[in-house]
């Protein structure tokens, strides 16, 4: 039987265990056709749905306008044609909130403000409704563990996109401080020489990029701070 646990990247011997992942999408049967319905559903939807619509899109190739980096913003732009609201929804960073309810409150507040301002309530067609989805994440072992930060550039260079998702995106909802796995491991090593590297990693913006672009940026950072 598979284990169910939530943990960081640190292997039992203190190394960094490289993992990979896949998401299984699950329908909730709940949907919205206008802004009021979107707000009402967000008020009560499973918190896992909020996270899915913020992050899971990264696991698919991006062809859409990358300005709108979560599912709510994209739907508001593409189906309701409300660009100002889409922009306000896009700047919401889920890692700013300690709990999913904080994120939920922020989404509802932004939508409420728009509803207060609006004199009409645009509807989308029944074919373009917003469908709330949640997911199960499956975590795979790659049987690779690195023991020294100097190995990070080579390791990151060969990681799959979904492995980057696991260590750089999923980590934010899994680790106590809401940071990526690389920073968690480097901080655990308690060596001040990695402090700047962690600050630099915090500056890698996970929005607006595909996972492979994120991998390239991580690689640049590691090559800069951890020269061979």
């Amino acid at each position: 039987m598979p284990k169910r646990k939530q943990d960081g990247p640190v292997a039992s011997d203190g190394g960094f265990a490289i993992k990979d992942c896949a998401l299984a999408a699950i329908a909730t049967g709940r949907h919205a056709q206008n802004l009021k319905e979107l707000r009402d559903e967000i008020e009560t939807i499973d918190p896992a749905c909020l996270l899915y619509h913020f992050w899971a899109g990264l696991l698919r190739p991006i062809f859409d306008d990358p300005r709108f980096n979560n599912g709510f913003a994209r739907w508001v732009f593409q189906s309701l044609h409300n660009q100002p609201l889409a922009e306000r929804l896009s700047v919401i960073d889920p890692t700013d909130f300690d709990t999913p309810d904080g994120l939920r409150r922020e989404l509802v507040d932004v939508i409420e403000e728009e509803l207060d301002r609006s004199e009409v309530l645009p509807w989308t067609s029944r074919e373009q409704q917003f469908f709330f989805i949640r997911s199960q994440i499956v975590v795979f072992s790659t049987n690779r563990t690195i023991h020294d930060p100097s190995e990070l550039p080579d390791a990151v260079a060969t990681m799959t996109a979904s492995s980057i998702f696991y260590h750089f995106i999923d980590a934010r909802r899994r680790t106590p401080n809401g940071v990526d796995d690389f920073s968690t491991w480097l901080t655990d090593l308690q060596d001040v020489k990695y402090a700047q590297l962690c600050t630099r990693l915090a500056g890698v913006d996970p929005y607006f990029k595909t996972l492979l672009e994120i991998r390239e940026e991580l690689l640049e950072v590691f090559n800069e701070y951890l020269p061979a």
């Binding site: 169910r4 329908a27 029944r126 949640r134 795979f140």
Partner: protein
């Protein structure tokens, strides 16, 4: 009833690296990590008895998927089998009505027809009982065998209803009946979120897939492509558009002919191939074929081909020969022909409906259209912007590699099985 068992579970030939031939071939196309994920996911499922049940061995997307999915599960150590129920013409006429009603047509199904539908399922249940009651996981595909669940009171495993149909806006009286039939399942699987329904169990979203190694999708040499030009009297020096699908009104073959006529005014050399087959569970096929032939009239540049169910390499060659592929459905559960054409680097003009929307990223991997006029405009655009046609085709192939290959499909089935048999919730660590 007939049972499909390619080889005993776990008996696949092993390479020195521990990988079977079949898995190794998929690793070459989809990547080593994709196959490694399958092996990890299948570890907790090893030795489990898994039975798939549907209503046809050949013809249609479901049979094509099961033909490869079942042997792959076997190679991963799962004791997987595939059972096909049997019915008479009246049964298939009723299940076709189910299909049409679930896709939104206002079709009446009489009590007598429903009784016969249930009786046929009872007869199949009697024959399948030992296999199904003993199974750890049972996948029932589509409405035809759905009542089997209620006929297996001593079942011990997890039962999953896999719905391949676009049920986003079903005819309500028919859905009410079917909902009672499927509500007792432990889980269901739909291809799109829009198809999910109000059901009292978990509903996975798993789009189907194409098999990159099958005869329909494997690479072909130029000789085989040249051969279809000769065989079907096509001119390789003139533009060719193609729709491959069963002769079914929801696939709108007559709308494709309209689009072709509108586009031909601007590309007089344009040729159209409508290539389809029939499935044993589709009694309407011949009627729609006749309508299509009537719409084509005397136009010698319209080629209507009724192909046998095993004409996979011919379809492959036609898709590779075509400049543009259409799938102008008005309703579509998924439309595997879209992914097939995209895999061959063709931009696809598809109906803005169902699973086609998941495959065609509008303006990037093809175009979504709602009318013959819309299709005609996109045909003209692509035929006069060859650079765009090539660029879209390249994006389309890459999109399929990422999202619609069999390995991704199997991974998601295995994930659902691991989650359901292990009672896992939102995180499964292997």
């Amino acid at each position: 009833m007939s049972t499909f068992r390619r080889s005993p579970a776990g008996a696949a030939t092993q390479e020195p690296n521990g990988m079977s031939h079949l898995l190794e071939e998929y690793a070459r196309v989809a990547g080593e990590s994709a196959v490694d994920h399958l092996r990890q996911l299948s570890t907790p499922l090893e030795g489990m008895k898994v039975v798939h049940v549907n209503s046809t061995r050949v013809g249609g997307g479901v049979a094509e998927i099961l033909e490869k999915l079942v042997p792959l599960k076997q190679e991963l150590g799962i004791d997987a089998t595939w059972e096909v129920i049997e019915g008479d013409a009246e049964f298939y006429a009723t299940t076709k009505s189910f299909h049409n009603a679930l896709q939104g047509n206002r079709v009446h199904i009489s009590d007598e027809e429903l009784r016969h539908y249930e009786e046929i399922n009872e007869a199949n249940a009697a024959a399948l009982r030992p296999a199904l009651e003993d199974a750890d996981v049972v996948f029932i595909h589509d409405p035809q065998p759905a009542p089997l669940l209620g006929l297996m009171p001593d079942r011990k495993g997890i039962w999953i209803w896999r719905c391949h149909i676009d049920v986003s806006h079903p005819h309500r009286p028919v859905w009410r009946y079917l909902r009672d039939v499927v509500a007792g399942y432990d889980a269901s699987i739909f291809s799109l979120a829009a198809f999910a329904q109000d059901l009292p169990h978990v509903q996975y979203l798993i789009p189907p897939s194409i098999d990159p190694l099958s005869d329909k999708n494997t690479e072909l040499g130029p000789d085989e492509i040249d051969a279809v030009y000769r065989k079907f009297d096509l001119d390789p020096d003139r533009e060719l558009m193609l729709q491959v699908s069963r002769f079914d009104r929801f696939k709108d073959p007559v709308g494709v002919i309209e689009a072709y006529r509108l586009a031909k005014k601007f590309s007089p050399g344009l040729q159209l191939v409508l290539a389809g087959g029939t499935a044993t569970d589709d009694p309407e096929g011949m009627a729609v074929l006749n309508e299509t032939e009537a719409a084509a009239g005397e136009d010698t540049d319209i080629h209507i081909l009724l192909l046998p169910p095993d004409a996979h390499r011919t379809i492959n060659a036609l898709q590779r020969a075509a400049d543009i592929v259409l799938q102008k459905s008005t309703k579509e559960g998924f439309g595997l022909t879209v992914a097939e054409a995209m895999w061959k680097g063709k931009p696809v003009i598809g109906g803005d409906t169902g699973g086609i929307r998941l495959q065609i990223v509008n303006d990037h991997t093809g175009f979504l259209v709602s009318t013959p006029e819309g299709a005609a405009l996109r045909i003209r655009y692509l035929l006069h912007h060859r650079d765009k046609l090539v660029e879209m085709g390249e994006k389309a192939r890459s999109f399929v590699r990422e999202n619609f290959l069999l390995t991704r499909h199997l991974r998601e089935y295995l994930t659902a099985m691991v989650a359901l048999t292990g009672k896992a919730e939102d995180r499964i660590e292997l």
